[in-house]
């Protein structure tokens, strides 16, 4: 079992994306910070509400050199349909085999029907070091969009050498 605490390194998940193509977290990151969300799945009304919030903030992420990644146990084709319905432009990763779920302390546990991920959020440096972790088992525990903004600001400030405008 991996501890997912601030300062530790998040595992470099290797999973198919919503189109079925193999991806890794580090490949998606490139050199950018990540907001990584684990999600119960398309069927949960709380997830539907939260994903719509993410779609609102994606317009900021897409111009600010940062990535949004959502992991769930939905199959890629289900994620693709969910993503299209939301109007999301970020990446979904499918752990439909629950290969990583079995290794991470992120199983919901109380839902024996769907056996899904517990809602959680992690903000990651490009090397996948965790800056902050949010437990979203209760809806109010989830990272708000403002908290994600503040997290991206903190990480970006640290990793971009020209955060302070270089002298010309």
């Amino acid at each position: 079992m991996t501890d997912l605490l601030p300062g530790s390194r998040f595992p470099d998940l290797d999973l198919p994306d919503h189109t079925g193509r193999p991806r890794t977290l580090s490949e998606i990151s490139g050199s950018d910070p990540i907001a990584l969300l684990t999600s119960r799945g398309w069927w949960c009304p709380k997830e539907q509400r939260y994903m719509r919030e993410l779609c609102r903030v994606q317009e900021e992420f897409e111009v600010a050199y940062a990535k949004i990644i959502v992991v769930s146990v939905d199959a890629p084709e289900v994620q693709s349909a969910f993503r299209a319905g939301l109007g999301a432009r970020f990446t979904f990763l499918s752990d439909f085999e629950r290969r990583w779920l079995e290794q991470l302390p992120l199983c919901e546990g109380t839902d024996t029907l769907h056996d899904p991920y517990r809602p959680a959020a992690f903000t990651l440096y490009p090397d996948l070091t965790i800056n902050a972790a949010f437990n979203g088992y209760w809806f109010w525990g989830r990272a708000t969009m403002e908290e994600l903004r503040q997290e991206m600001r903190a990480i970006t400030r640290e990793i971009r050498e020209d955060w302070e405008v270089p002298e010309s």
Partner: protein, 154 residues
């Protein structure tokens, strides 16, 4: 040692596409990964660009940004496994000369969102290699690189 450039050069003369950087036609920057691996034989390249040297838009223009959003939103998912690679064409730090989408099946190329920027021409090409499509939602570019190429590390 200097880092590898995130772009390569290809040429387009309005009808033909060439990976010879010294060949005839307009010289365009393309994501270097698109021409770095083994070529997919008989692929169809939908070139949304003109051979006219003046035909360009700024990457920051809303129509260019929206074409990239559409690529992430529905164009890449629509192409599915037929997609070989996709790249915009950069001219320099700020100007976009269009884009190319390479597929193994030409039937859906009429939907190409980049054709809203410049008219599309479908050509056969054997030199494009498979590149994982860009993960969203980033639409901004890294300096001088043709989206989706590059990173702050390159």
């Amino acid at each position: 040692m200097s880092p590898e450039l995130p772009f390569a050069y290809i040429r387009f003369d309005g009808e033909r596409l060439s990976d010879d950087p010294h060949g005839p036609g307009r010289r365009l920057r393309i994501d270097a990964r698109c021409v770095a691996g083994e070529g997919v034989q008989g692929a169809h390249a939908h070139v949304c660009a003109l051979s006219n040297e003046d035909a360009s838009l700024r990457y920051d223009e809303p129509e260019v940004q929206q074409a990239r959003r559409d690529a992430l939103d529905w164009w890449i998912p629509m192409l599915g496994d037929d997609l070989v690679c996709i790249s915009t064409f950069a001219l320099d730090e700020s100007r976009c000369a269009g884009a190319v989408t390479v597929t193994t099946d030409p039937r859906r190329l009429d939907y190409d969102p980049f054709a809203r920027l410049f008219p599309g021409t479908t050509v056969r090409a054997d030199f494009f290699s498979r590149v994982p499509p860009p993960p969203g939602p980033v639409i901004e570019r890294y300096s001088g690189a043709p989206w989706p190429a590059g990173s702050f590390g390159s």
